[in-house]
Assembly symmetry: C2
Homo-oligomer: 268 residues x 2
């Protein structure tokens, strides 16, 4: 096994009933429980290691039903429908027999077709021209990424002065690691909460549901390698204790690798 | 029961094992099988009629695993985790014991909080100033909507001349019907395929997975009533036989009611 901290976090042990046992990773701890991105990556890994897997990940939806406790968990990933070129997955993550996460995924055999990105990489400086963030790190998982912030960083003061919800940053695994689907699933959740930016007000938050669409296939992953990704996120609506986030991940060449969305709880 | 065609399509019969039996609706037939929006609405209705329901719909993900055959189906909606203010649902739709759709949903007790729409209603003419579409209707379900197209209508010729994937239209149920969550789930899928617009080329398509975030609670639904919704959709990426769609539904007052995303198969 790779000694990379991300691969260590994705370690799963096959159980006799076809499920997998994993463990939360201290290296990916968030303020409360694990970083949601690493849990999404662990769920996707259980799908990708299934002996009946068809194709590669196309979409993933994870619903965070409860806070994971530090320690062991079981991932139960079942292919419930296998078609000629797509396969549908139902997934549960359990601790102490209790459901703490539900998920669905679709894997697909990709084909060469007409292709086009309709959401272009925004005009941003190259990674080499953007300084690496030296911000104080509030959570362990942040240490596993190299951030080169362009715009929309966390407020420097909680003074209610926010006026937009847009963040743009270059990011990649630290230490560098060749990009794969699990890494993309994790990176889909790499943004700090949009409500903090929009309001410049600190409120407790928690992702309720996240969906990831993988526009990259294996060839584009290989082409991207260990390069930086431009990670952009923006909210559309905040109401009744929940807000959404729409985000995109492009490689340096401008290929749109992932589009992703989440709905997030906020207090007050 | 209401005699409205939409309510007729949502009719479900409780089965002894806690599942529901429904039927595909000829009034919502698409070119092949039922319109995906009506199936999403049927799934959500099974959740909303469950005796253990907590709160109102917050998010819904439906994965179209196989084409539904015309006729009866069973919806199995189970609350797998109930928290203080959110409830997580796992759902399957089956025909002849085979899974044809998987879904997850989250329902939530909404609270009064700071609220703000960060994606504003675009500058568009009022519904009264936009003519109702008189386009020839290719599928039965289109008859159940009043469309007032603003921009981005289907290509008038399949000549490969497309240059964008954006569509804006006012829409509401025909005949008029007070807006509810099921109607929003159905309307989330009201757009013709983005790949047709972007390429001005006809290719077979099919939605693989759709996620709907309900930013509207009961009060905002009541306020919206039977008014028009501005329905906007745009693609971000087309690659390897799949493209995505991001869409928004606002009421006439400019409240953002729904943000929704889907990943769609296309041939060639």
């Amino acid at each position: 096994m790779s000694s990379h901290v991300f691969d260590q976090a994705l370690a799963l042990t096959a159980l006799p009933d076809g499920t997998w046992q994993g463990h939360t990773s201290p290296a990916y701890a968030n303020m409360v429980g694990p970083f949601g991105g690493i849990t999404a990556a662990q769920v996707l890994t259980a799908v990708q290691r299934h002996p009946q897997l068809l194709g590669t990940p196309l979409s993933l939806t994870v619903n965070y039903a409860a806070a994971l406790a530090d320690g062991a968990f079981v991932v139960d990933a079942r292919p419930v429908r296998t078609n000629r070129s797509t396969q549908h997955w139902s997934i549960e993550l359990r601790q102490n027999e209790q459901v703490v996460l539900t998920a669905t995924a679709v894997t697909a055999a990709r084909r060469d077709t007409w292709s086009l990105d309709d959401h272009a990489l925004p005009a941003v400086p190259a990674p080499a021209d953007v300084a690496e963030s030296s911000a104080k790190l509030a959570s362990a998982w942040l240490n596993n990424y190299e951030f080169r912030p362009i715009s929309g960083m966390p407020p420097s003061a909680w003074d209610g002065s926010g006026h937009d919800s847009l963040t743009r940053q270059w990011v990649r695994d630290k230490p560098k690691r060749p990009l794969d689907f699990a890494a993309l699933a994790c990176l889909a959740d790499v943004f700090y909460p949009r409500v903090w930016r929009r309001r410049a007000t600190f409120v407790p938050v928690g992702t309720v549901s996240m969906t990831v669409y993988f526009h990259a296939g294996p060839e584009l992953l290989a082409k991207t390698g260990t390069g930086y990704l431009l990670a952009q996120a923006q909210a559309q609506a905040f109401r009744n204790g929940f807000f959404d986030q729409s985000a995109q991940l492009w490689n340096e060449a401008g290929d749109l690798l992932v589009t992703t969305h989440q709905i997030v709880y906020f207090k007050e």
